[in-house]
């Protein structure tokens, strides 16, 4: 399924079999890429840095959803509800008990895991559309509980959270946040990547393709479904908690159904069944509205510029249009395009792959 990296099969030990990066080219390009990411905050302005942080937050959430939908094949429309659960756990623990970062983050992860179990229970009986609908219903219930807390405690506009303290210094600077989020996103991707190579990850792929066959092969279908939901929602709740700290503010309005759709769009636009797809999708969906806005601003003379509500509407419509275009014309997403480009280069001067490969 992957394009060939090295010519031939040279693995002579188990350690080599487990390597993530195999060839020298891969290692060199990875080091260059990592160095570029580390140097980024010193090249970017404040606005671009905020965008980069948003992208990194979205990468965590998108990778979590990719594990669930792209690999295990369980459709979830409750992603925003899980993000909200993480954010509200953090907000409530901070507001009621003044809990520090080191307690709120694991607590959010625990709440996420418990909710994942609850979100996953319908999947034992329901499939496809009905499962999607049940997660949608749970989304509304979680959001309702969050807004109920807000109104009951009198934080009707939202819960304000102070910047967290890590090792004695306050995490308030966007540049410091960038490194924390970069570490979190890289950690999520590494965990996901390795999880997918284990027994659990292979079980997820098996139940995605055909549940009956997976069961016949000795995979516990129920266990695999529940573990996919639990892992995915734990990661999502952690992303929600980080989101709450980064914004310094939790409010139920931020977790609308549209947020769920945005995350689903990241998975679709990036490309189903690929972690690279989750990253590409996150970058695309987060940057898309800003690209549209600056495109309009560049195209029109300043005198003709419409007000912000028109920008909002145009963004909305363009987002729907792009999603439709991807679903209709490129269901494999950005990764599908990238693979085709790779194949074109690798096969040149030929056009078709040899049969049977």
């Amino acid at each position: 399924m992957n394009a060939p990296r090295a010519s031939g099969y040279f693995r002579i030990s188990y350690a080599q079999d487990l390597q993530v990066l195999e060839t020298r080219t891969q290692k060199v390009s990875f080091v260059l890429f990592a160095a570029a990411l580390l140097a980024l905050p010193f090249l970017f302005g404040a606005f671009a840095l905020d965008l980069a942080n948003q992208v990194l937050l979205a990468v965590i959430g998108a990778a979590a959803l990719m594990l669930l939908t792209g690999y295990a094949g369980q459709i979830s429309l409750g992603h925003a509800g899980l993000l909200a659960a993480g954010a509200f756990t953090t907000g409530i623990l901070f507001k009621e008990f003044g809990a520090p970062f080191w307690i709120t983050l694991p607590a959010s992860a625990l709440v996420g895991a418990a909710l994942g179990l609850i979100f996953g229970l319908p999947s034992l009986r329901l499939r496809g559309l009905y499962l999607a609908v049940s997660t949608l219903a749970l989304h509304f219930i979680v959001i309702h509980l969050g807004s109920e807390y807000e109104t009951r405690r009198g934080f009707s506009t939202g819960v304000v959270i102070d910047a967290p303290r890590l090792f004695g210094w306050e995490l308030a600077d966007a540049r410091a946040w960038y490194y924390v989020l970069l570490g979190a996103a890289a950690g999520t991707l590494l965990v996901s990547l390795n999880l997918l190579r284990t027994r659990t990850g292979r079980a997820w792929r098996a139940i995605h393709v055909r549940e009956t066959v997976a069961g016949a092969l000795g995979i516990s279908v129920q266990g695999a479904k529940l573990s996919a939901f639990v892992v995915s929602s734990t990661l999502t709740a952690v992303a929600g908690s980080l989101f709450a700290y980064y914004r310094g503010f939790v409010s139920a309005e931020a977790f609308s159904l549209f947020l769920t759709i945005q995350y689903v769009a990241m998975v679709i636009i990036g490309g189903m069944g690929s972690l690279l797809g989750a990253v590409c999708g996150a970058v695309f969906v987060v940057l898309f509205p800003y690209a549209i806005e600056s495109g309009i601003k560049a195209a029109l003379p300043p005198a003709l510029l419409p007000d912000s509500s028109v920008f909002f509407a145009a963004n909305y419509a363009a987002f729907g249009l792009v999603m439709i275009l991807f679903l209709v014309f490129e269901p494999m997403g950005l990764v599908g395009i990238w693979k085709r480009v790779q194949n074109w280069v690798l096969l040149w001067p030929f056009k078709q792959k040899p049969l049977g490969k």
């Binding site: 609908v133 759709i261 909305y316 729907g320 999603m323």
Partner: protein, 289 residues
Amino acid sequence: MQLAVNIAVLASVYALISCGYVLIYRTSRVLSLAHGELMMLGAYGLFVTASLFAGRPLVAIAVSAVLALAVGVLVYVLLMRRMAGEAVLAAVLTTIALGILLRGAMMFFWGAYEQHPIQALGLVNASVAIGDARISAVALTLVFATGAAYAGLWAFLRYSVWGLRMRAAGQNPLLAAQRGIGLHGIYALAWGLATLTAGIAGMLIACDSALSQTMVVIGLKAFPAALVGGLDSLAGALLGSLLVAAAEVLLIHYVDPLLSDVVPFVVLLAMLIVRPWGLLGSREELDRV
């Protein structure tokens, strides 16, 4: 008494909207999550025709109904036709994306302000007394419109040739196609009828209260009603709407008004746990999804 009237009105709203979900699902096995937006588009259609045909409200209503039908057919021909045979998720996501596109386009053209098409039509929403309860004239019309829509749909599916074809296509598309039924035509008709009923619901709601962005939420809340009754049964949609509306009105009245947005989904979840195929739905549908 007032509570019973409120339940009847809300149940009619949900029933009129949810028959569209049922029509599309039972014919083509696609769940349309753009229904709320299509409903709002119907209401904006009335808003536009009302100013075009000022002083002739009946003409305006008729033209906007025809427009809604045409929009539904166009949605199928231009977009959903391409998704035929794709995975369930892809089709549902396409309708979600369509909903976002429509919502953005409507905000773009008409802004996010509240509109009152009934003023543009030149009609007055009088209040009617039934016993000791009061009901607005438009809401009463809505109840009757729902009854008429269900009776019409029932007669259409039961007695007309196209209704027969539609039922056949829903039961077994392959056999229906082999028998010479044009599936694309049937699906387009189902989308057209669903959008028409949604459009009528949208127009009446907009006339009763106001035309605003919150209408989409009503469309989404009608979906649990369809599923509680069984996604492939019209009678089920009616029953489910009554159930969901009763639960919502009673809980709002006796417990907490803030529950309004969440009650239909709690009912939905309870139903999915106990009887996922719905009250009157057919059981084997579940594995086909």
